[in-house]
Symmetry: C2
Subunit: 104 residues, 2 copies
DNA sequence: AAAATAGTTACATAGTTATTTAAATGTTTA
DNA sequence: TAAACATTTAAATAACTATGTAACTATTTT
């Protein structure tokens, strides 16, 4: 990982891109349609997300397919655990409580 | 909440402050001792964390006690869930797998 | 009320970030 | 190999961020 995960996540458009890609993989032009900005700006943001290992890029002919990288999100998970988990057990309890609450 | 949670989290020193405060509540001068920086810089970062509702401030005589705000971390939890949880159940599974792995 | 203590705010500055336009690169097709 | 398509990169610029110094505010103590 070259860039900072946290800096990458700090920008609204980049988080929107992540949530978009979560729906399904996409090409830059396709992504750009969802934004009121240029393709160049989207491309830059894709590079930043890629440098933070948040997304993957696959060449596909003349296109480039971008998708979520499910692997390297450990750093944010770790911080999340340290910060709001106390321990992993606590996070587990939190999740269980929340999912119980949602069942009601 | 005035400021952006994500911008607040995007800076190393601020995340360090959060992790420090997680240990126990502290006064600005006390916090500053842990950093190679000025009290003024710490104070500014405390304001940014407070604006993002990540910490609380309580006046205590001539001092000000800072502590983690456990309530308003929902936004990051929500994004986390959307992004890496698929569902809360998935997060639960992840946590369980990880804590099993750690038991070994 | 003055001095001491604790912390904040203003201002200047250096550094970083985001975006745009324009040029460049890589890939396919004619 | 030239044209077309998909995307990236460069350069310029405007906006924002982080930090230090110094001045200021709030609170307690003498």
């Amino acid at each position: 990982m070259t860039g900072s995960l946290w800096k990458a996540l700090a920008e609204d458009n980049r988080r929107r891109i992540l949530l978009l890609l979560r729906e399904h993989e996409m090409y830059p032009t396709e992504i750009a349609k969802h934004f009121d900005t240029t393709l160049a700006a989207v491309s830059t943001n894709l590079r930043i997300l890629k440098d933070a290992d948040l997304i993957k890029e696959t060449r596909e002919g003349q296109k480039k397919r971008y998708s979520i990288n499910p692997k390297t999100t450990m750093e944010i998970k770790d911080f999340f655990d340290k910060m709001w988990g106390q321990s992993l057990e606590d996070l587990k309890v939190f999740v269980e409580e929340k999912s119980n609450k949602e069942k009601k």
